[in-house]
């Protein structure tokens, strides 16, 4: 990113918005470059390369608010864009809660170097990217006669942004990310062609899991699906593998947000300080993990990112409170959304926990479903394994789990010592008791 050019453009936009009559403004300019290579069955399927940039602005004028974005950054286009944006704002209704963050909240950013940028990214050649994508799939050649198709992909991204607010905030971010995936399809019974995949992402290229491991896991996860069927409906423990547990817990983000609370759409409203889960439920939001996929110095409002407990031993500690809904609720803003979520680990490994269960369902895949943030009810499609006496005895699919988060969180009975570090939601293996599975 041409640092001075974009920062200067930001200052120019800021000045222009002020000249047009806005009392306050916030803005961001982002530029990113991405390259991806997809292979299928030993051949390049797609090569995609792109550079993009965009500007977003928030206008606060005469007690009114609007937000805008554009990717046309030519000054003559921007002049018109900004004029219209400020004009439009004047037609809205006044909203006393719309204002920039208290500048005190900009203070206290992490002093730790989060190391989110891999300087080696710019040295990767087109050939190296192709080699990596090809190698991911190549490990599976001849590994299973039933393989119909193997798709593999390698991609990387470099992004940089500036963020400014007219009451003094100035931020700069630069980060890289690398991702690789393998997806396989194999011939199953009849017309069924089970699929499985593995996906890994990291801030630094050297932190990516090895290609062979990625490929082998993808194939194993596909072979797992062979012969899968539903079993009769039953209430029993739900065992979640570490890489899959976030699929159940991320749905808490919405009811934990101040906007849902203020809009009376959260089953967690008015329950701060209350015990809403079992003693094993301890989750912390930590924005300062070095090379973390959700790490940050500040959020979209410019608030300095700080570690904060969400649940401690089942007690609800904090809601995600952005500036606007914080103003409406009279709460001090803390963060507009999650960064890295850390579930406090337990003592045993996933394998040890699995071996200790008499009868349970291990969920390895989610398929659709939804949760109602207002009531806490959920109903989700699942696939995985029936566990009997600590062993995987039958591959299952086409089943649902249903219940209410109020009960589910209280029924968390074990947490593993194996957090999944390849995601911003670092979940370990988890076991929830008394979950209703519906099948045949």
């Amino acid at each position: 990113m041409e640092k001075n050019v974009h920062l200067d453009l930001g200052y120019w936009v800021q000045k222009k918005i002020k000249q047009l009559g806005a009392s306050q403004s916030a803005l961001g300019i982002r530029q990113s470059r991405s390259v991806s290579v997809d292979y299928r069955d030993g051949k390049v399927e797609t090569l995609k390369e792109s550079t993009q940039q965009s500007l977003w602005i928030e206008v606060f004028a005469k007690g009114r608010y609007s937000s805008h974005s554009t990717n046309d950054l030519r000054k003559e286009s921007l002049e018109k864009f900004l004029t219209n944006a400020v004009d439009l704002t004047g037609f809205l209704t006044k909203d006393e809660f719309r204002r920039l963050a208290d500048p005190d909240l900009y203070e206290g950013q992490s002093k730790v170097d989060l190391d989110l940028y891999d300087s080696g990214q710019s040295d990767i050649t087109v050939e190296e990217r192709q080699d990596r994508a090809k190698a991911l799939g190549a490990y599976l050649e001849g590994k299973d006669d039933r393989i119909i198709s193997v798709a593999s992909s390698f991609s990387d991204n470099h992004s940089e942004s500036y963020q400014l607010a007219s009451n003094g905030f100035e931020g700069h971010k630069e980060s890289t990310s690398f991702a690789q995936s393998v997806e396989t399809s194999i011939q199953g019974k009849g017309d069924k062609k089970p699929q499985g995949w593995r996906y890994y992402r990291a801030r630094h290229l050297n932190d990516l899991v090895g290609a062979e491991q990625t490929a082998k896991e993808a194939l194993a996860r596909t072979q797992d699906r062979l012969g899968a069927e539903k079993i009769a409906s039953e209430t029993m423990p739900l065992l979640l593998e570490n890489s899959n547990a976030a699929g159940l817990l991320w749905r808490l983000a919405r009811p934990l947000s101040a906007s849902s609370i203020q809009q009376k759409n959260s089953f967690l409203a008015d329950r701060k300080g209350e015990k809403v889960g079992s003693d094993l439920l301890t989750i912390t939001d930590d924005p300062s993990i070095v090379r973390g996929l959700g790490s940050r110095y500040y959020d979209g409002d410019g608030l300095a990112a700080k570690s904060m407990p969400i649940f401690t031993k089942g007690v609800l500690n904090n809601y995600y409170t952005d500036v606007y809904y914080g103003n409406k609720l009279g709460w001090t803003p803390n963060a507009g959304g999650s960064s890295n979520l850390i579930v406090k680990p337990g003592l045993r490994s996933g394998a040890e926990i699995e071996a200790s269960l008499d009868r349970a369902i291990l969920v390895t895949n989610w398929l659709g479903g939804n949760a109602n943030p207002t009531t806490g009810d959920f109903s989700l499609g699942v696939a995985g394994w029936l566990i009997e006496n600590g062993k995987r005895v039958k591959s299952i699919t086409e089943m649902n789990i249903s219940g209410n988060y109020n009960d589910l969180l209280m029924n968390l009975i074990e947490v593993g010592n194996d957090p999944w570090i390849h995601s911003s939601f670092r979940t370990p293996t988890m076991v929830f008791d008394k979950v209703s599975f519906s099948g045949s």
Binding site: L92, N370, D377
Partner: protein
Amino acid sequence: MVQMSRRDFVKVTGTGLALATLPGFIRSGFAGVGAGDNPYNFYFQRFGIDEDMIRKVMAEALHYGGDYCDLFFQNELSNSIRLQDNIVNSASTNVTLGVGIRVLNGNQTGYSFTEDISLASMKAAARTAAGIASGSAKAAPQTFNATKLMNYYETEISYEDVGVKDKVDMLQAINDDVFKQDARVVKANVNFSDSENYILVVNSEGGIASDYQPMLRISVGCTAEEDGKRENNYFDYSVRDDINFLTEEKLKRLPREAVARTVKLFEAQTPPAGEMPVVLAAGSSGILLHEAIGHGMEADFNRQGISVFSDMINKKVAEDFVTIVDNGTNPHVRGSINVDDEGHPSEETQLVENGVLRSYIHDRISAKHYGVDPTGSGRRESFKHYPLPRMRNTYMKNGPHTFDEIIANVKYGIVAEQFTNGQVNIGPGDFTFYVKSGSLIEDGKITGLIKDVNIIGNGPEVLSRVTMVANDMKMAEGGWTCGKNGQSVPVSMGLPSVLVSSITVGGRG
């Protein structure tokens, strides 16, 4: 409510949300580019391009001898305005401008895009996309021939001519009406958004096509309280139409439906778990088709051999009275397109005809692979993406039964009426859809209400279990968006009332 006719409503404009100046209003082009009255001049001016530039960029794209290239120019202007806590207190606008350049070499795709529509930037992007091939240069076409298109979404008024003040008044009136409906309502949210998408597709075979794609969405959500319990629900419309779509009647229906859908949830229960007959009510139940068969019929998955439907063309998959189409030509329906994003005219594609699987949904690559005509289904989210075979409006045609006959046939089951989302694994064919609300059937009669339950089944199995189809086909009214490979496109769906004899309902107990 707004006390003015629709015509008046659009005439009483304040300052528009316009972010770009239109030299005039335009519809899809019909005439040849070489004609004196060049319909593409509007688009050429809008993007600051001419035929010579296009040829130069194509020459760059074919520098290494790709089989084919296309340029997809896009300019989209979107606006949204929101009411919350009784005031219209937030609005946003977005401008998207750019060109995507694709080079095909057999089944292989090279893709790049630029937001800077200058010759130099386009040539650089073209050279990047060209890298998919490794042969000798090919020539760009000398002339371009217009693709003849129909217009399935004639409009009279641009959203640039609709005033903000009018939108504010409209949202405010809807909000007031929400609270008049029921004393249990404690919160209301009203959102209105519009967009105008201008696209121009030019390819190395000399084809050129353009389209103006309008879209409107209006949604009303509310939360109600009763005896310490809260429920939330919504109602929305989304169409390819102008502001005149919103008649007085529709503006009154929005708050009425939103409140009715919310408060009835207080009476609703989670149904029991297990396999049972499920009646899909006419309308957005078409989500069943989208997930159970639509995605599996997208030809990219089939040419790769990984769809559960890969070997099933011309096989009997359902009862004789089951006919399913994917259609891009329904007037003003959200998923309709005059032309796809590869420049092929839209059409009605028969997926299942009288119970027999007929055609996949194709993009250029798959149509060539199978040696068939394109189906006008090559779609993309924006110029930042390459096209893929995608659904448009997927629905089942009317059958021989009636809704009452279907209900009378069910001993114990549910009616699924309102949906929020669905998903499918196209290899095994397992799919789900989430039922926000519906009814319980006992001994052939509707006896109660149900809510918040996921339904899971297997595509081919469920198709074979469609045992009754009514004669009351209805399209969905709301704003459905389909996601695939990281790309979102607007779609719609429809269904007559249908009985699926057995499917797994994710209830409790």
